[in-house]
Amino acid sequence: MYNKGLEYLKELDKLCDFQSKFVIKADIETNEKYGYFPYGRPIEDYIRQGVINLDKPPGPTSHEVVAWIKKMFNLSKAGHGGTLEPPT
Protein backbone atom coordinates (compact mmCIF):
# COMPACT_ATOMS: atom_id res chain seq x y z
CA MET A 1 0.00 0.00 0.00
CA TYR A 2 1.26 3.47 -0.90
CA ASN A 3 1.77 5.23 2.40
CA LYS A 4 3.55 8.46 1.63
CA GLY A 5 0.38 10.39 0.74
CA LEU A 6 -1.54 9.07 3.74
CA GLU A 7 1.36 9.87 6.05
CA TYR A 8 1.46 13.43 4.68
CA LEU A 9 -2.26 13.86 5.35
CA LYS A 10 -1.83 12.52 8.87
CA GLU A 11 0.94 15.08 9.35
CA LEU A 12 -1.51 17.78 8.18
CA ASP A 13 -4.04 16.50 10.71
CA LYS A 14 -1.48 16.83 13.48
CA LEU A 15 -0.61 20.41 12.44
CA CYS A 16 -4.24 21.41 12.88
CA ASP A 17 -4.89 19.19 15.89
CA PHE A 18 -7.48 17.31 13.85
CA GLN A 19 -8.32 14.26 15.93
CA SER A 20 -10.22 11.86 13.63
CA LYS A 21 -8.65 8.66 12.31
CA PHE A 22 -8.65 7.43 8.73
CA VAL A 23 -10.64 4.39 7.62
CA ILE A 24 -9.49 2.50 4.54
CA LYS A 25 -11.97 1.37 1.91
CA ALA A 26 -9.52 0.09 -0.69
CA ASP A 27 -5.74 -0.19 -1.14
CA ILE A 28 -4.22 3.26 -1.42
CA GLU A 29 -2.30 3.17 -4.68
CA THR A 30 -1.15 5.77 -7.16
CA ASN A 31 0.85 5.94 -10.36
CA GLU A 32 4.19 7.74 -9.98
CA LYS A 33 3.83 8.96 -13.55
CA TYR A 34 1.25 11.62 -12.67
CA GLY A 35 1.25 14.44 -10.16
CA TYR A 36 3.69 14.98 -7.29
CA PHE A 37 3.97 14.36 -3.61
CA PRO A 38 3.48 17.96 -2.28
CA TYR A 39 6.97 18.32 -0.77
CA GLY A 40 8.42 16.86 -3.97
CA ARG A 41 6.93 19.38 -6.40
CA PRO A 42 9.51 20.94 -8.73
CA ILE A 43 10.44 24.31 -7.25
CA GLU A 44 8.47 26.45 -9.71
CA ASP A 45 5.30 24.43 -9.01
CA TYR A 46 6.11 24.34 -5.30
CA ILE A 47 6.19 28.15 -5.27
CA ARG A 48 3.06 28.60 -7.38
CA GLN A 49 1.10 26.09 -5.29
CA GLY A 50 2.48 27.30 -1.98
CA VAL A 51 1.40 29.36 1.00
CA ILE A 52 3.52 31.60 3.19
CA ASN A 53 2.71 32.23 6.85
CA LEU A 54 3.96 35.80 6.79
CA ASP A 55 4.36 38.09 9.78
CA LYS A 56 3.50 41.27 7.95
CA PRO A 57 5.35 44.38 9.15
CA PRO A 58 3.02 47.11 10.47
CA GLY A 59 3.74 49.74 7.80
CA PRO A 60 2.63 48.50 4.37
CA THR A 61 -0.87 47.26 3.63
CA SER A 62 -1.57 43.59 2.89
CA HIS A 63 -2.24 44.61 -0.68
CA GLU A 64 1.19 46.22 -1.00
CA VAL A 65 2.90 43.18 0.52
CA VAL A 66 1.15 40.89 -1.95
CA ALA A 67 2.39 43.14 -4.77
CA TRP A 68 5.95 42.81 -3.43
CA ILE A 69 5.68 39.03 -3.20
CA LYS A 70 4.39 38.84 -6.76
CA LYS A 71 7.33 40.93 -7.90
CA MET A 72 9.92 38.96 -5.90
CA PHE A 73 8.68 35.66 -7.26
CA ASN A 74 7.64 36.97 -10.65
CA LEU A 75 4.08 35.69 -10.17
CA SER A 76 0.94 36.77 -11.92
CA LYS A 77 -1.36 35.50 -9.17
CA ALA A 78 -1.10 35.81 -5.41
CA GLY A 79 -3.50 36.64 -2.61
CA HIS A 80 -3.70 37.15 1.13
CA GLY A 81 -5.85 35.65 3.84
CA GLY A 82 -7.46 38.75 5.29
CA THR A 83 -6.67 42.14 6.75
CA LEU A 84 -6.80 43.50 10.29
CA GLU A 85 -9.17 46.26 11.38
CA PRO A 86 -7.73 49.61 10.29
CA PRO A 87 -6.19 51.77 13.03
CA THR A 88 -8.32 54.78 13.98
Binding site: Y2, K4, G5, L6, Y8, L9, L12, D13, L15, C16, F18, S20, K21, F22, V23, I24, K25, A26, D27, I28, E29, T30, N31, E32, K33, Y34, G35, Y36, F37, P38, Y39, R41, I43, Y46, I47, Q49, G50, V51, I52, N53, L54, D55, P57, V65, W68, I69, M72, F73, G79, H80, G81, G82, L84, E85, P86, T88
Partner: protein
Protein backbone atom coordinates in the same frame (compact mmCIF):
# COMPACT_ATOMS: atom_id res chain seq x y z
CA UNK B 1 -8.75 28.71 -1.78
CA UNK B 2 -7.41 31.55 0.38
CA UNK B 3 -10.99 32.66 0.93
CA UNK B 4 -11.33 29.53 3.05
CA UNK B 5 -8.77 31.01 5.44
CA UNK B 6 -10.65 34.32 5.60
CA UNK B 7 -13.68 32.54 7.04
CA UNK B 8 -11.82 30.61 9.76
CA UNK B 9 -11.68 31.18 13.50
CA UNK B 10 -9.21 33.83 14.62
CA UNK B 11 -7.16 34.47 17.73
CA UNK B 12 -5.85 37.86 18.78
CA UNK B 13 -3.74 39.44 21.47
CA UNK B 14 -4.59 43.06 22.16
CA UNK B 15 -4.02 45.89 24.58
CA UNK B 16 -7.07 47.58 26.06
CA UNK B 17 -6.66 50.98 27.66
CA UNK B 18 -9.26 51.83 30.25
CA UNK B 19 -10.24 55.48 30.61
CA UNK B 20 -10.82 55.25 34.37
CA UNK B 21 -10.31 53.04 37.43
CA UNK B 22 -11.92 49.62 37.46
CA UNK B 23 -11.34 46.88 40.02
CA UNK B 24 -10.27 43.44 38.83
CA UNK B 25 -13.50 41.78 39.87
CA UNK B 26 -15.73 44.16 37.87
CA UNK B 27 -13.37 43.97 34.90
CA UNK B 28 -13.58 40.18 34.82
CA UNK B 29 -17.36 40.26 35.27
CA UNK B 30 -17.99 42.67 32.39
CA UNK B 31 -15.53 40.93 30.06
CA UNK B 32 -17.38 37.70 30.79
CA UNK B 33 -20.51 39.21 29.27
CA UNK B 34 -18.84 39.39 25.87
CA UNK B 35 -18.09 35.67 25.70
CA UNK B 36 -20.54 33.70 23.59
CA UNK B 37 -22.85 35.20 20.96
CA UNK B 38 -22.65 38.98 20.57
CA UNK B 39 -24.25 41.57 18.27
CA UNK B 40 -22.02 43.68 16.08
CA UNK B 41 -22.39 46.22 13.32
CA UNK B 42 -19.27 46.67 11.14
CA UNK B 43 -17.48 50.02 11.67
CA UNK B 44 -17.60 52.90 9.15
CA UNK B 45 -14.28 51.94 7.61
CA UNK B 46 -15.13 48.41 6.54
CA UNK B 47 -15.45 46.49 3.32
CA UNK B 48 -18.64 44.67 4.31
CA UNK B 49 -22.30 45.67 4.40
CA UNK B 50 -23.03 47.48 7.67
CA UNK B 51 -25.89 45.35 8.97
CA UNK B 52 -26.26 44.20 12.55
CA UNK B 53 -25.02 40.65 12.79
CA UNK B 54 -24.29 37.98 15.36
CA UNK B 55 -20.76 36.77 15.95
CA UNK B 56 -19.39 34.19 18.36
CA UNK B 57 -16.63 35.07 20.81
CA UNK B 58 -15.12 31.80 21.99
CA UNK B 59 -13.05 33.19 24.85
CA UNK B 60 -11.50 36.37 26.28
CA UNK B 61 -8.57 35.79 28.62
CA UNK B 62 -6.98 38.49 30.75
CA UNK B 63 -3.28 37.78 30.33
CA UNK B 64 -1.90 40.72 32.31
CA UNK B 65 -3.03 43.97 33.83
CA UNK B 66 -1.05 47.06 34.75
CA UNK B 67 -3.25 49.86 35.99
CA UNK B 68 -5.33 51.06 33.07
CA UNK B 69 -3.63 48.78 30.54
CA UNK B 70 -5.03 45.29 30.09
CA UNK B 71 -3.49 42.57 27.89
CA UNK B 72 -6.20 40.34 26.45
CA UNK B 73 -6.25 37.16 24.38
CA UNK B 74 -9.39 36.69 22.30
CA UNK B 75 -10.63 33.79 20.22
CA UNK B 76 -13.54 34.53 17.90
CA UNK B 77 -15.45 33.81 14.72
CA UNK B 78 -14.28 35.30 11.42
CA UNK B 79 -15.58 38.81 10.90
CA UNK B 80 -15.62 39.83 14.57
CA UNK B 81 -14.40 43.34 15.31
CA UNK B 82 -12.14 43.30 18.35
CA UNK B 83 -11.94 47.08 18.48
CA UNK B 84 -15.73 47.27 18.87
CA UNK B 85 -15.68 44.66 21.64
CA UNK B 86 -13.09 46.67 23.56
CA UNK B 87 -15.11 49.86 23.02
CA UNK B 88 -18.29 48.17 24.27
CA UNK B 89 -16.52 46.68 27.29
CA UNK B 90 -15.50 50.23 28.14
CA UNK B 91 -19.11 51.41 27.82
CA UNK B 92 -20.43 48.65 30.09
CA UNK B 93 -17.71 49.37 32.64
CA UNK B 94 -18.84 53.00 32.62
CA UNK B 95 -15.36 54.49 32.26
CA UNK B 96 -14.78 53.90 28.54
CA UNK B 97 -11.89 52.07 26.87
CA UNK B 98 -10.12 51.81 23.55
CA UNK B 99 -7.88 49.32 21.79
CA UNK B 100 -4.26 50.44 21.66
CA UNK B 101 -2.72 47.50 19.90
CA UNK B 102 -3.89 44.42 18.05
CA UNK B 103 -2.01 41.37 16.85
CA UNK B 104 -3.60 38.41 15.14
CA UNK B 105 -1.89 35.29 16.41
CA UNK B 106 -3.97 32.65 14.64
CA UNK B 107 -6.01 32.52 11.43
CA UNK B 108 -7.45 29.05 10.96
CA UNK B 109 -4.50 26.71 10.54
CA UNK B 110 -1.90 29.50 10.52
CA UNK B 111 -0.38 30.47 13.83
CA UNK B 112 2.81 31.81 15.38
CA UNK B 113 4.99 28.74 15.01
CA UNK B 114 8.22 27.91 13.18
CA UNK B 115 6.46 28.43 9.84
CA UNK B 116 5.91 32.14 10.61
CA UNK B 117 8.42 34.11 8.56
CA UNK B 118 9.29 37.73 7.89
CA UNK B 119 9.86 39.40 4.55
CA UNK B 120 13.62 39.26 5.21
CA UNK B 121 13.46 35.47 5.52
CA UNK B 122 11.72 35.25 2.15
CA UNK B 123 14.26 37.59 0.56
CA UNK B 124 17.15 35.49 1.94
CA UNK B 125 15.58 32.25 0.78
CA UNK B 126 15.06 33.69 -2.71
CA UNK B 127 18.64 34.96 -2.87
CA UNK B 128 19.96 31.55 -1.92
CA UNK B 129 17.95 29.99 -4.71
CA UNK B 130 18.64 32.54 -7.42
CA UNK B 131 22.35 33.14 -6.69
CA UNK B 132 23.45 29.80 -5.19
CA UNK B 133 21.00 27.43 -6.87
CA UNK B 134 19.82 25.98 -3.52
CA UNK B 135 16.07 25.83 -2.94
CA UNK B 136 16.19 24.39 0.59
CA UNK B 137 15.35 27.66 2.40
CA UNK B 138 12.59 28.45 -0.09
CA UNK B 139 11.01 25.09 0.64
CA UNK B 140 11.14 26.00 4.31
CA UNK B 141 9.55 29.44 4.10
CA UNK B 142 6.86 28.27 1.69
CA UNK B 143 4.50 25.45 2.64
CA UNK B 144 2.44 23.37 0.17
CA UNK B 145 -1.01 24.94 -0.17
CA UNK B 146 -2.52 21.72 1.28
CA UNK B 147 -1.48 23.23 4.63
CA UNK B 148 -4.38 25.69 4.33
CA UNK B 149 -7.00 22.94 4.64
CA UNK B 150 -5.40 20.86 7.39
CA UNK B 151 -8.46 21.44 9.62
CA UNK B 152 -10.95 19.83 7.18
CA UNK B 153 -11.95 16.15 7.12
CA UNK B 154 -10.09 14.48 4.28
CA UNK B 155 -10.99 11.98 1.56
CA UNK B 156 -8.42 10.14 -0.58
CA UNK B 157 -9.46 9.20 -4.11
CA UNK B 158 -8.24 6.91 -6.90
CA UNK B 159 -6.02 8.27 -9.66
CA UNK B 160 -8.81 7.36 -12.09
CA UNK B 161 -11.28 9.66 -10.29
CA UNK B 162 -9.03 12.73 -10.22
CA UNK B 163 -9.51 14.20 -13.67
CA UNK B 164 -13.31 14.00 -13.52
CA UNK B 165 -13.28 15.91 -10.22
CA UNK B 166 -10.84 18.42 -11.72
CA UNK B 167 -13.52 19.05 -14.34
CA UNK B 168 -16.10 19.69 -11.63
CA UNK B 169 -17.80 16.27 -11.42
CA UNK B 170 -19.16 15.15 -8.06
CA UNK B 171 -17.31 12.41 -6.22
CA UNK B 172 -18.93 8.97 -6.41
CA UNK B 173 -18.34 6.22 -3.84
CA UNK B 174 -16.28 3.90 -6.11
CA UNK B 175 -13.67 6.65 -6.46
CA UNK B 176 -12.90 6.70 -2.73
CA UNK B 177 -9.92 4.85 -1.22
CA UNK B 178 -9.88 6.21 2.34
CA UNK B 179 -11.51 8.90 4.46
CA UNK B 180 -11.76 10.29 7.97
CA UNK B 181 -14.17 8.76 10.45
CA UNK B 182 -17.25 10.65 11.61
CA UNK B 183 -17.85 12.78 8.54
CA UNK B 184 -21.43 14.05 8.64
CA UNK B 185 -23.75 14.99 5.78
CA UNK B 186 -23.32 18.63 4.80
CA UNK B 187 -19.82 18.87 6.27
CA UNK B 188 -17.13 20.57 4.24
CA UNK B 189 -14.44 18.09 3.17
CA UNK B 190 -11.13 18.23 1.29
CA UNK B 191 -10.47 15.72 -1.51
CA UNK B 192 -6.92 14.49 -2.06
CA UNK B 193 -5.00 12.21 -4.41
CA UNK B 194 -3.19 9.22 -2.92
CA UNK B 195 -0.04 11.34 -3.12
CA UNK B 196 -1.60 13.92 -0.79
CA UNK B 197 -2.32 16.57 -3.43
CA UNK B 198 -5.41 18.72 -2.88
CA UNK B 199 -7.87 18.15 -5.72
CA UNK B 200 -11.05 19.91 -4.59
CA UNK B 201 -13.25 21.02 -1.70
CA UNK B 202 -16.81 19.80 -1.36
CA UNK B 203 -19.77 19.05 0.89
CA UNK B 204 -20.32 15.51 2.13
CA UNK B 205 -23.46 13.96 0.69
CA UNK B 206 -23.10 10.76 2.72
CA UNK B 207 -21.62 9.91 6.14
CA UNK B 208 -18.36 7.99 6.54
CA UNK B 209 -20.25 4.85 7.51
CA UNK B 210 -22.58 5.13 4.51
CA UNK B 211 -19.59 5.58 2.20
CA UNK B 212 -17.85 2.55 3.71
CA UNK B 213 -20.95 0.38 3.27
CA UNK B 214 -22.03 1.53 -0.19
CA UNK B 215 -20.56 0.70 -3.59
CA UNK B 216 -22.29 3.48 -5.52
CA UNK B 217 -23.86 6.91 -5.11
CA UNK B 218 -22.63 10.48 -4.83
CA UNK B 219 -20.44 10.76 -1.76
CA UNK B 220 -19.35 14.40 -2.08
CA UNK B 221 -20.78 17.36 -3.98
CA UNK B 222 -17.75 19.29 -5.23
CA UNK B 223 -17.98 23.04 -4.49
CA UNK B 224 -14.51 24.25 -5.43
CA UNK B 225 -11.97 22.67 -7.76
CA UNK B 226 -8.32 23.33 -6.89
CA UNK B 227 -6.33 21.01 -9.16
CA UNK B 228 -6.38 21.91 -12.86
CA UNK B 229 -7.52 19.22 -15.32
CA UNK B 230 -4.82 17.27 -17.15
CA UNK B 231 -2.52 16.52 -14.20
CA UNK B 232 -4.00 13.03 -14.01
CA UNK B 233 -5.25 11.31 -17.17
CA UNK B 234 -8.90 10.81 -18.07
CA UNK B 235 -10.09 7.48 -16.67
CA UNK B 236 -11.44 6.05 -19.92
CA UNK B 237 -8.16 6.64 -21.66
CA UNK B 238 -5.83 5.46 -18.92
CA UNK B 239 -4.53 1.93 -19.19
CA UNK B 240 -1.69 2.59 -16.75
CA UNK B 241 -1.27 0.06 -14.00
CA UNK B 242 -0.80 1.39 -10.48
CA UNK B 243 2.49 0.44 -8.77
Amino acid sequence: MLSLVVHTTKEYVCVMQLHGSVDDKKLKEVIGKFIGKIYQKPPLRSSVKRTLRIRKVHYIDILEREGKLVLLKIGCEAGTYVRKIIHDIGLLLGVGAHMRELRRIKAGPFKEDETLVRLQDIAEALYRWKEEGKDDLLRKVIAPMERAVCYLPKIIIRDTAVDAIAHGAHLAVPGILALHENIGVGERVAIFTAKGELVAIGKANMTTNQIMEANKGIAVKVTRVIMPPGVYPKAWKSRERSK
